[in-house]
């Protein structure tokens, strides 16, 4: 089952959200969802086939964790279709160019004693890390 079909089921989306907070066992996921454990087990198998989760055996337990790269087919398709609201569409190259400009600007203004406009460049640097 592909990633699109895997995301179509609300139970599977809920499982992914739960796993986004960190790895979990099958019993834990079944306890926090209104379906039986075999149903959870099968949903997890579907998600694993789609590359959205991965399992690690630990004795008799099995720890499932989210695999965010598995969402790439969906995100890629969505972005190929175009932005949902004509919002900003920026590539890493754009950011690099802008980053260069901003660093030069702030340095120039410091040396020339410009006004105290806030230095937002650090925001991006932090988020892209």
């Amino acid at each position: 089952m592909d990633a699109f079909a895997a995301l179509a089921d609300p139970v599977r989306r809920a499982l992914l959200v739960a796993l986004a907070a960190g790895p979990a066992r099958v019993a834990d996921l079944a306890a926090s969802h209104p379906i039986s454990r075999p149903a959870v087990s099968r949903h997890l198998r579907v998600l694993a086939e789609a590359g959205l989760v991965a399992a690690t055996d630990a004795g008799r337990e099995r720890h499932y964790r989210l695999q965010r790269p598995g969402l790439a087919p969906v995100t890629d398709w969505l972005e190929a279709l175009g932005p949902p609201d004509g919002g900003p569409r920026v590539t890493a190259a754009h950011l690099d160019a802008l980053d260069l400009e901003v660093r030069r600007t702030t340095r120039d203004r410091r040396t020339t004693g410009a006004d105290g406009a806030d230095d937002r460049a650090d925001d991006r640097a932090g988020e892209t890390a």
Copy 2:
């Protein structure tokens, strides 16, 4: 049917891709896809319910067009789950701040006679329009 379930069907995704190139009639979409016209008609109804397409009556014809904002529930959910690869995550506010910096930089360099580095700020302005 919600947007997630609507995107689960490959035929519906193909219809959306076709509509991304511009509005189309039902007959046109049916002709370019290996399913009957009633099937296309029902797929379009599903997509309309999900807010992914909209129709405009034009005489006996009906022009369907893509509604990109309908994808918002999906994109929002995906981005709430976290970035697939830790890529750049930039908001419009960041871009505005950067844009301000860049415009000031280029102006300063013009007045001070700097090198001929290209003016990338216009790129962003065009893409966000």
